[in-house]
């Protein structure tokens, strides 16, 4: 029996995160990094920065309709490769994993975790069904696809060979179809060439002055074409081990390369938003294919090779008509004759670019790439409303209340959708009274009910998980969820190392036995303590001084007792008033259990005494801080944050109101 406290990832700290999104995200929510086309069925696979791989049907009559999404990554998908005749897809992501997918059905078969940093590029040797992966950790791993696809839960080991020697992070990788040669490009401005069969280094190609972002190898392995951030495209001859041609069509980094079948022409996409088609032998013959709206990230032929699919920083995927090869010639002296034509467009959605957390620490405002503002509820993991094209800062100011609640989550926008991250340190910091925190669920009577946002959320996230208990199960422990609300079932929950490396990804409604096991092994103890064992997160206490107001004292200065009290930070001022009444002034009301003069814990649900005086204490006692009269609903930490604003202990002064007695 696996103890859920067994943290197999070593001593690294773990965090929990989830994404607020729709059940189905049919459109790319951010740029698209890579494309692969299955010629047999016309399926176009696109790997997005929103961590999702989508599949489109590009056959003639289907008009590029959306087929399905392949979701399992948690960060940008950097590269994809279609193998085994289109049956399997291999993907590489910034979450440092390489995943093997069943391409037709669209589910993830296995995950390879050998890389220690972002995996940037894949290379495919078709004849051998071999795939290589490389990334920022300077390592290159070689995989045999057939072995990979045969992995199952029981047979889950695979051997891999690795190529060593790269001195810097690797940003591009290419193999020839026969798998006799593999090249990598890195910010050390050189292309390294190995023989994957023997894992030996063959040569280093020097010439570029900046990072190499794209490499293509000819089928015979004799020529290599590389695109670099210095804006040039270089053609290298393997036999001579040197550069034989440099093409200067672009003004900024060349990020995508596509070769024609005969290796006669190169189609290049660049950061300067242009796509050119250039003849290798005679670079003066170059024609502009199109000018995109944003830097071009990847290129792929369409089904009949009449056009080229291009992806950019925008989420649209467009297909552009390619000029005929014989038309690729020098521009007219009168000026370039540009005849660009867009054949197709797979429209994408918007990515969220900016966010602001509101003071209630429950809602966030976001602004996306179309300048639309939206309001999200983090606690319930939903989008509340779209506000349209309003002024972002104004909305933030409008919606910020004068309440202070500690931070208990962080927001990450790397994938274009809000990813909420909870970590051990802050997760349980937000204690809040029910009527402020969950006004829609709070009973008007139970003013003393205290809730913890982090605890509520985690319980809701793991509602459908059946953990393994240490203690015998009983009715109490079987209560699932937080008892107030549920969160959307499609929300993916991720356990990862602080610093990003993913351990487990769970989508709640597919919580099968495998996932349960994963969770058992990987969910950190700070989560399980609260969610499973139902332990109470700790309270945060504030010390403060309670003094009669100078106006009240009237010459009895020596009798002033400066009470130093400690209380939970979320209690409201009316509680202090109560304390003044009961303990200090010794009025006739029965003592309530709201305050402690020593460090005893406050129970979460106060049984407030309604007996005794009918007049609420706040009507009889006035509480001031820094000579500001306090709203009885305000809690101590809010007072400290907005009114006290100093270091040193909070100090309250009390005064009797005229209607006292």
């Amino acid at each position: 029996m696996l103890s859920h406290k067994n943290n197999q990832s070593g001593c690294k700290k773990l965090q929990m995160s989830f994404v607020i999104r729709d059940a189905e995200e049919r459109k790319h929510r951010n740029g698209v990094n890579a494309l692969q086309l299955d010629k047999n069925n016309g399926r176009l696979y696109s790997a997005g920065k929103d961590a999702i791989i989508r599949v489109w049907n590009t056959q003639a009559s289907y008009q590029n309709e959306y087929l399905h999404s392949m979701e399992h990554h948690n960060d940008w998908v950097n590269d994809i490769v279609l193998c085994c005749g289109g049956r399997n897809l291999i993907s590489a992501s910034c979450d440092s994993t390489v995943k093997v997918w069943n391409a037709h059905k669209g589910f993830c078969m296995s995950t390879l975790r050998t890389h220690k940093d972002y995996v940037q590029a894949l290379a495919y040797a078709k004849d051998k069904e071999q795939v290589a992966s490389a990334g920022l950790d300077k390592s290159i791993f070689l995989w045999d696809v057939t072995t990979l696809t045969a992995l199952t839960a029981s047979n889950n080991t695979v051997t891999t060979s690795s190529l060593s020697g790269s001195r810097d992070s690797i940003y591009s990788l290419a193999m020839n179809p026969s798998g006799t040669m593999i090249c990598s490009g890195s910010p050390e401005n050189t292309i390294r060439v190995w023989d994957p069969r023997t894992c030996t280094r063959i040569m280093k190609l020097r010439g570029h002055s900046e990072n190499i972002r794209a490499i293509v190898v000819s089928s015979d392995g004799q020529q290599v074409v590389s695109g670099s951030s210095d804006g040039t495209i270089k053609v290298w001859n393997m036999g001579q081990q040197r550069c034989i041609q440099t093409i200067h069509v672009h003004t900024e980094g060349v990020w995508a390369l596509l070769m024609t079948d005969t290796f006669s022409h190169v189609i290049s996409g660049s950061r300067d938003k242009k796509i050119f088609m250039t003849e290798l032998r005679n670079p003066a013959n170059s024609v502009l294919v199109c000018e995109e709206k944003a830097p071009v990230l990847s290129l792929c032929y369409n089904l009949d090779q009449s056009g080229v699919w291009a992806t950019t920083w925008d989420s649209d995927i467009k297909c552009w008509k390619l000029p005929r090869l014989d038309r690729v010639c020098q521009n007219h002296p009168d000026g370039p004759v540009i005849n660009t034509k867009e054949i197709a467009n797979i429209k994408g959605g918007t990515a969220i670019k900016k966010f602001a957390v509101l003071n209630d620490k429950r809602h966030i405002l976001t602004k996306d790439s179309d300048n639309n503002v939206a309001l999200y509820d983090v606690l319930k993991v939903i989008k509340v409303e779209d506000l349209g094209n309003v002024d972002f800062d104004e909305e933030v100011n409008k919606r910020n209340q004068r309440v202070y609640i500690p931070n208990w989550f962080t927001v990450d926008l790397k994938i274009g959708m809000p990813t909420i991250v909870l970590d051990e340190v802050d997760c349980y910091a937000a204690w809040i009274s029910a009527e402020i925190g969950l006004p829609e669920y709070a009973d008007p009577g139970s003013t003393d009910l205290k809730l913890n946002f982090g605890s509520l959320l985690l319980k809701a996230l793991l509602e459908h998980w059946t953990p393994v208990h240490n203690s015998p199960s009983n009715d109490l422990n079987d209560v699932r969820g937080n008892g107030y609300f549920e969160i959307p079932k499609h929300t993916p929950v991720v356990v990862s190392e602080v610093g990003g490396r993913t351990l487990v990804r769970l989508v709640r409604d597919t919580a099968g036995e495998n996932e349960s096991t994963f969770l058992n092994e990987n969910v950190p103890s700070w989560v399980t303590d609260v969610v499973v064992e139902k332990a109470m997160p700790k309270f945060i206490k504030i010390p403060f001084y309670l003094l009669p107001h100078p106006q009240m004292v009237n010459g009895q200065k020596d009798r002033i007792k400066k009470d130093r009290l400690v209380a939970n930070e979320f209690i409201q001022c009316r509680k202090v008033c109560e304390h003044v009444l009961d303990k200090v002034l010794g009025a006739e009301t029965t003592p309530s259990s709201g305050m402690a003069t020593n460090n005893s814990q406050n129970s979460q649900s106060d049984g407030n005494s309604d007996g005794g005086s009918q007049i609420p204490p706040e009507d009889r006692i006035e509480l001031l801080c820094n000579d500001v009269i306090l709203d009885p609903n305000m809690d101590l930490r809010t007072v400290r944050h907005f009114i006290w604003k100093q270091t040193g202990d909070l100090t309250f002064h009390y005064k009797t109101k005229p209607n006292f007695n």
Binding site: D75, W76, C94, D117, L136, S169, Y171, P187, N211, S229, E252, G253, R271, P295, W313, K353, D412, L413, K414, G416, G499, G500
Partner: protein
């Protein structure tokens, strides 16, 4: 640490520090003084052997040096003895060597002689230096053979014929004037006294003195400041007195000052100045004093306590007598100068009125301004720049510097933060702005930005989206990190060593990724630091410390010519670079740790031919102006300068003034038109700015002396133009501006002279050739001199 001490035993550095810590203002008991002397003796003794070596190597040159130096020494001795009584009144810490050293030997002898003098002073008896002479006998003999002879001619009544130390005695008897007439005047330089661990201050002051054009610029800024202050006071008084002419020229009809007027004056006299402005002024004053000392050939080391106090008011770090960091001190001084320049610029831009005809005009010529105008002006002149202003200025300056550096001044005055239309007298705001800009440029008021400020650019490139974010900042010095693990074997070119450490490249990867705003996430990035603009006067700090208190004493090469590595020059091949930098000063730190040590400055004068010439501000002084107190340059040079001299000479030395005047006259006679070291007309006919007579550097020289070969003619307009051997090494030396190489005359001297460096160790200044200095800095020495601050001046090659 004296040059030539490399082979000294280890205790010597401690010696220096102990010597320093003993310096206390106030009296020092005789016993202590004696013990000091003993320490010196120890030092001296060990140095003997080394000195012998040096002598063997450079006998001829040294002989000649010695010749001159001893003569010099005689003259100085005489003067010194005249001041014997005065000496006793001064603080006792002056008892250490006040005399200028020109060579090891002389220095040593000097010390001995002085100490002996002190001993003997009360008695004034015939002393025979028998004790000391034994120690010095071998050298003494050598001396004797060379020039004792000549020397002895001037000594009358000397009891011992074989002792140079009898200078003191002989001076009583000799006729000063005749002696001066016959004797040739050799090089002297004013020195600063150590007034309590102030070697940090002294080395910085010496360095700045030799910074090309610095004295000139500083003078004019201080000058303008004081004139503006005067004017403000005047105008306030004027308007307060309802038009009565207070403080101006009193005509026949003006009534005398009433109490009312006086009262109103009184309240305005105290125009508040910021501490930084005061510090700048005190620095200028300090240089004035040093110049004076050179003119009157005083051998006293000057006490820079006024200046030190002024700096202490700016920054309390320097309070007390603790040892301080020279770099920190330098930054404080430069900061004060910067603020002064900024205030001045601000005042002028806000109230262009104050500047008429291209310079700050005299009170009568200014119309009475409105009270508010004046108030604003005073406020702006004398309040500390607020953070806003500073940042605005900096940012704008930075923005300005993006443009061609030559246009800096032109564009600079686009920065007007508080310009109020009402203040401008002219209707057309823009026209006026242009005029103001021009005036400011002509006045060279904001020389600090031109000379000291550079721009660093930190450029970060995300490797994913390849967006480059740049951050530009102004800087006044470059800090070069020294790890102690530098691989110097790979160094062919010491130039590139510093360049490589300055132009850095940092990678963000692994756990330390960069948060890219465009990618909205963590990515790899590369950050490079480059320098769009390097200042004309470049300061490089070698950070010989790493976290802890350990000082890193490793050898770092000190290039005398530094290749420019500003952004433009980096792109050009070596033969086509636009600028190059020449070393003009090095401040070295002696000591094993950071907390205890001694600073010594090594300076040289780079020819600044054009420095004092064609000074635009000078021309105004030429205009006939009765109220002006500064004499015009012209044919009446000698007389005017005489008047000038009178101004500067101590009152108690009325007789000496006459002496000096005579000296000058004699100079005029013996050396053609060599007045105060400057020819009245330069070869190309321009006239030197009068500021040279206020706070310049005076190094006298006369033809026919053997020293002319090692010509140290600062403010260098004379027949004996010193020519830096640097020039030979430069490609395409069609040099202009700073280098001061003109026409055919220079080339004829090119072979003759070698740059001369001055080792300035508090009140001891010693000359050495560049070769010697290079040797001093080489890594082969056992006890290494560790350069800490390097000072370079830019030369434009095209």
């Amino acid at each position: 640490m004296f040059s030539g001490c490399q082979k000294m035993l280890v205790p010597i550095p401690d010696l220096s520090s102990t010597l320093l810590t003993r310096y206390q203002p106030g009296h020092q008991p005789l016993a202590l003084r004696n013990s000091c002397r003993n320490d010196l003796d120890v030092a001296v003794r060990s140095r003997d052997s080394f000195n012998k070596k040096i002598l063997k190597q450079n006998n001829a040159a040294r002989a000649l040096d010695l010749n001159k130096n001893i003569e010099n020494q005689c003259a100085l001795q005489q003067q010194e003895n005249k001041q014997v009584e005065r000496e006793l009144e001064f603080k006792s810490n002056k008892h250490q060597c006040k005399v200028h050293f020109v060579d090891d030997k002389i220095k040593r002898k000097k010390k001995l002689s002085l100490s002996l003098n002190r001993e003997n002073r009360p008695t004034q008896a015939n002393e025979t230096n028998s004790v000391k002479s034994q120690q010095n006998s071998p050298l003494k003999k050598r001396l004797k053979t060379w020039e004792m002879h000549e020397y002895m001619q001037h000594q009358t009544g000397a009891s011992s014929s074989n002792d140079y130390i009898l200078n003191s005695k002989t001076s009583h008897n000799s006729d000063d004037n005749s002696y001066n007439q016959k004797k040739q005047i050799t090089t002297t330089m004013a020195t600063l006294c150590n007034i309590g661990n102030t070697c940090y201050l002294n080395s910085v002051v010496y360095t700045l003195r030799f910074a090309p054009r610095f004295l000139h610029n500083l003078h004019h800024v201080c000058d303008d400041m004081s004139e503006i202050t005067q004017k403000l006071v005047y105008n306030k008084a004027k308007s307060a007195s309802l038009g009565r002419n207070i403080g101006g020229i009193q005509g026949p009809n003006t009534r005398s000052l009433s109490t009312k007027d006086l009262a109103s004056i009184g309240s305005f006299v105290d125009v508040p100045k910021t501490n930084r402005q005061i510090a700048t002024e005190k620095l200028h004053e300090l240089y004035t004093h040093l110049y004076r000392n050179e003119v009157i050939e005083s051998t006293e080391a000057f006490h820079a306590d006024t200046f030190l106090n002024a700096v202490q008011d700016v920054s309390s770090i320097f309070e007390g007598n603790q040892q301080q960091d020279a770099h920190e001190f330098l930054m404080c001084v430069l900061d004060s100068i910067r603020e002064t320049c900024n205030s001045l610029t601000k005042v002028i831009t806000e109230c262009p009125d104050i500047v008429a005809n291209g310079f700050v005009s005299l009170p009568e010529k200014i119309e009475v301004q409105t009270t508010s105008q004046r108030k604003t002006m005073v406020q702006s002149l004398f309040r500390k720049l607020s953070k806003d202003d500073k940042s605005k200025m900096n940012r704008n300056d930075v923005a300005m510097k993006d443009a061609d550096a030559k246009d800096t001044n032109n564009q600079k005055c686009g920065v007007i933060s508080n310009l109020d239309d009402e203040l401008l007298c002219a209707n057309d705001k823009e026209k006026n702005m242009e005029k103001v800009n021009e005036k400011i440029k002509k006045m060279g008021v904001d020389f600090f930005t031109e000379d000291f400020e550079g721009v660093t650019c930190s450029s970060t490139k995300c490797l994913s989206c390849e967006t480059i974010t740049e951050q530009k900042e102004t800087m006044i010095d470059l800090s070069v990190p020294i790890t102690g693990y530098e691989n110097l074997d790979q160094l062919d070119d010491p130039n590139l060593f510093i360049q490589n450490l300055c132009i850095t490249r940092e990678q963000f990867r692994g756990e330390n990724k960069y948060r890219c705003e465009v990618c909205t996430g963590l990515t790899e990035a590369i950050r490079t630091v480059s320098y769009p603009i390097l200042p004309r006067l470049l300061i490089i700090q070698l950070k010989r410390f790493s976290g802890g208190m350990e000082k890193i004493n490793n050898y770092i090469p000190t290039p005398f010519n530094l290749q420019c590595f500003c952004s433009k020059c980096c792109l050009l091949p070596e033969s086509e670079k636009l600028h190059t930098y020449r070393l003009y000063s090095v401040i070295t730190h002696v000591g094993a740790t950071l907390s205890v040590g001694h600073y010594i400055a090594y300076t040289t004068s780079l020819d600044n031919y054009k420095d004092y010439h064609d000074c635009p501000k000078d021309k105004r002084k030429n205009q006939p102006n009765p109220a002006s107190s500064i004499p015009p340059v012209g044919s009446q040079n000698a007389e005017k300068s005489q008047g000038l001299m009178k101004k500067y000479i101590f009152k108690s030395r009325a007789t000496s003034s006459g002496d000096v005047t005579r000296n000058i006259k004699n100079l005029n006679g013996s050396v053609k038109n060599l007045t105060n070291g400057i020819d009245k007309t330069a070869p190309n006919g321009s006239i030197s700015c009068q500021s040279i007579n206020c706070c310049g550097i005076l190094m006298k020289n006369s033809p026919g002396t053997s020293l002319s070969k090692l010509n140290i003619n600062i403010n260098g307009v004379s027949d004996h133009l010193r020519h830096n051997s640097y020039v030979d090494n430069l490609p395409n030396s069609s040099l202009n501006d700073d280098c001061g190489n003109f026409g055919g005359s220079a080339s004829s001297f090119s072979k003759q002279s070698e740059p001369l460096w001055f080792m300035c160790d508090d009140d001891k200044i010693k000359t050495m050739t560049q070769r010697e200095f290079e040797e001093l800095l080489s890594p082969n020495k056992k006890i290494m001199v560790t350069p800490y601050l390097l000072f370079y001046a830019r030369m434009d090659l095209r």
